[in-house]
Symmetry: D3
Subunit: 241 residues, 6 copies
């Protein structure tokens, strides 16, 4: 049974990461991952969050925010700012992005700094959260390199490289990198966040339909490992350009 896109089971969509697309942000990139387009920017602010001060904590912080323009998806959604709050899905996704990127930053090296990663989805065709993490890393790395150059940071706080990809079971077949059509029909959907050296940072697997067996989950994990390795290369290519 061929995939709707004609891709092989372990084949990523085409992924282009265009660095430095924003003239103001410390770091930025536009991720074009198939028809999913995410604008990622990284800002370094010269103060720690107020809750850290209130709790007497040392070091800095990294936080992420995620949003979609109203017609990013196939049906226009009302603007969160007008509804007066973020929808639950956005909240869940931005917490994931923040957790994933914090893992590769030594926050103790970031005293009195807050890094803010903004991921704004301009067009969504599945996999926006994994594109946000993968692009968020590039924006983060660019921002830190610039801050080191400009002496706004003395020591590099980055301690790892991170990318993310989704896998799923579609019509009983484990496949890599679901697009929207596949995602809508997947029995199981899993997101993997991994480091350049193949360690796990975050694993999230959900039965969308029937529960899944442990063996199936292992197959998804193997597919993810292959995909992450390719994404790490894409990131590196973007950072060199």
């Amino acid at each position: 049974m061929p995939r709707p896109s004609g891709r092989k089971e372990n084949e990523l969509r085409s992924v282009a990461i265009v660095p430095n697309v924003n003239k103001y942000a410390m770091g930025s990139c536009l991720v074009k991952w198939g028809d999913t387009h995410v604008l990622c920017t990284a800002t370094i602010e010269d103060k720690a969050p107020s809750w850290m001060k209130a709790q007497g904590k040392k070091g800095g912080w990294l936080t992420a925010e995620y949003g979609m323009v109203p017609h990013a998806g196939n049906i226009r959604k009302d603007r969160d700012a007008i509804k007066g709050k973020q929808d639950g899905r956005s909240v869940e996704i931005q917490r994931l992005i923040g957790r994933a990127l914090r893992t590769v930053v030594d926050l103790h090296q970031m005293d009195n700094k807050t890094i803010k990663i903004d991921c704004d989805v301009l067009q969504a065709d599945g996999g926006t959260r994994t594109a946000s993490i993968t692009g968020g890393y590039v924006a983060l790395k660019l921002a830190i390199m610039r801050a080191l150059t400009e002496k706004k940071l003395i020591k590099d706080p980055l301690i790892g490289q991170v990318a993310a990809v989704s896998c799923g079971i579609v019509q009983n077949t484990p496949v890599l990198d679901l697009d929207y059509v596949e995602d809508s029909n997947a029995g199981t959907d899993a997101n993997f966040v991994m480091t350049a050296d193949g360690q796990l940072i975050e694993v999230q697997g959900s039965a969308e339909g029937a529960p899944f067996a442990v063996e199936e989950f292992q197959k998804l994990l193997a597919l993810a490992q292959k995909g992450i390795a390719e994404l790490i290369e894409k990131q590196n290519a973007a950072l060199k350009s």
Copy 2:
């Protein structure tokens, strides 16, 4: 290195599930899982959500809400209702509870019904989300049994049984069922939602400190399988009483 509670590595805290604690709800229970206490109620409303009607979808829905009383944890937190919105963590947790329980309900058998699962944490000592899912299932089952008896439902929509538990790597040792002290010090924290027959419904693993290896994740999964089996028995005992 002993656990702070003196438990063995694969030992759950004491778990008591007291059924029918609320005189109004269709189904309810109080989960006393160590010092974590969660009040779970299940309500069956005679209409589908408005978004289903708007999208022309058939069947019913199940949704969950999660909250904490202000002094559930060791530091009092401001009341969400006064801050004007749920915090991000609550949003993330209630989405997980809803997804987990929807997997064991055949929503096509629930035409024009909405089941609402409320999980209110009265005291928190780690593992509130897994206690909410485990207790939420009991409240759900009780509500459906009563609805069948009262002829508010004709056919039983339940197609599985679900429980949840956390595992983590604390001081390099994989352990089952983290309490708050362990959770605060865990290098890796994972939540597993599984069915009575050992299938996976949701897997969420996060590196809190360093990334973790695939093999470590396998060990956590094995611990979870043992814990889930015991929790399924606790649920059954509560349902029989």
Copy 3:
């Protein structure tokens, strides 16, 4: 005409006050007043409210918050945190609880402290505001005793003891302590907050149906005096245990 519960006209429901039910709060109790169950906690924070500082006021403050879990009553209500604001009734009740308890605290002895009383209704069968005040006093007393022991307070700021009860005119008969069924049918409903020595702190009487005569109000007051005396004893018993 007997009361639905079979109680005598001047008879309280059974009232149990279980102290120290929360392992984290400075003071706490669970009030089981018939089928009305309210969890009360008292927190002492080491700063005065920001509005006191802004106005240059000395001393401390006591404030109360009131909430209900969604299915506390016989019909599930949407969670305030999701609606984005407290409902008007909750606002009105928590202002009453705060006023009542402030009257027995010498705020000048509380310099740079804020006491927060949280009253969370787990099950509601009428009289939640009077149960909240009555239990709120117990939580407050326990918190102050502990703060004195722990030297967080030097001098006891408590200058009185307070309890509250409702009375009403049901089918032309004045009765003590309305439960939900009676409250729904009461022509007049009144809440009395009084001290241990029989002084008034707050009186609120409302004609739910027809206006009421001054003489009727006097009868309700007499019933309240009897009920308050009994509640003061219940409080003292709970505090001794």
Copy 4:
């Protein structure tokens, strides 16, 4: 000890009720009660509230809203609309106004109608809630008279007349109709809502400082009866003009 205003203990401030001050509302008046100025309007809408429909209730409803312009009081307060919610005091007051006026309307005669009473305080010098109720009645009566004339109502739903006044104990002396200076210094503050024939509709007494004795409360009640009788006459004069 003379009152700051030089008034006798049982003397009201000067009260002028100017009817029909708004060219659009069905009924309106401006209450000038000493330096307290409240604009009251009454609107009759041709539908019952949505919650009545949802609950299958017949008849109509009356609701009240209360607000202050930002500089109504001696210190400017931020605009509720900008803060994003009404303050708790406004919520409490508008619930009182609504309850008080509903008592003199036969809602069964108001099928599919909602009356909205708006009380906007232009200047506040104590007693805004009692001025709102007293003026709200006049706006309500004018609106109903006009609706009867215009055949928008067939039968008069008004079944009573209502006014309100505050009393308090200032420097151990019970006095009628506190202005702001007295209110700030009162040991006890009470609001009475009564009908033209001397029945009680709402009684609210609060110890601002020390608790008060039952006998003191009786004296306040007697003062209120005198004040209400005079206010009823003021209302009638305004309605005749």
Copy 5:
């Protein structure tokens, strides 16, 4: 074709500006501009806005807020405070009022001060924004005069006088000062804010129906110049009284 009000094409409605209507505000007036009634108050607070401090800006600020009582217009509108936010029109108008009045204040002379202009519409019959600016200036001037007298300001920061008027093209005829009936039927609607010496501060013209020619706009401008000159005199008369 006569105007509905019988006015000449270049004739203002009757405009009365009653100064000092609020006993607490530093400056205040009630503008009665035909049937449009706006209460304007000016407050001088002893601190600069927090955003100025955050950006390290010197000097002071002037800001304006605009609101309507619910039944100001011919159909009652829900109270902004209850809806939880200002409507877009109010936001747009208050930004205009603030910009217009800031132009005649030398903010560098206002170090650590914030002037707040509140414009509350009690009755609306067209032209509420121009009435707010015209009355807002009077309240501002009165507040500054009093602050100079009371030595709260050392040097007069006012550097100009400002008034505002609307013009429009109604049935192909340019007319001055639209009331609500004309405004509803105008093809083009323009608001002009000008100084006492005939300079422009703000010009806003909108095609409500068909686009308009540059020549038409010139005619509206000429009408506005005449109207502004008369309004400046009304302001001066009010300030002298």
Copy 6:
């Protein structure tokens, strides 16, 4: 005195309008106007707004929404969705966009349709509102052409073509199309919305510093006429591609 960008006084920045950049929206374009980048989409929904139904109005409606990604400008701003409301500037701008585009749509031809124009600023360097109107027209035209092709609309409701540009007085010189640096230093700032045949739709001029003379305003108008003519050509080129 040369302009910072080296442009002539009557010279636009380079303007590129890339059509059809969004795969889901009925119409879309990306406006690259110097360093100001705005993504515009147009959606046609098959229902009139609820307020039109409530007021019994026939025809359809067009509304616009405006937002910025957090780091669109030179300083990152907090996300509106997280602050819980749009900022006042966004509200003002989106109302302008909506008014401008409604003028060229015959809403009576749009029965039971709502057109939504979304303008999301990806990068801001001055002139975002005029870029939004100019690009919004292109997205609107594309959406209507597609709707006519797909028979979702029977008759073309477009009755004009509209573009917008800003002008200002910078160092006493009137110039066309201010970028951010010029805008920050402009004494007067004006926005003009005009049709393809040189009629005015909206004129907004503000004195940022000193008031301005009528003659200066005329010069800005002349510059705008030149700029608009060029922008109309850019729109036409984009629509032909």
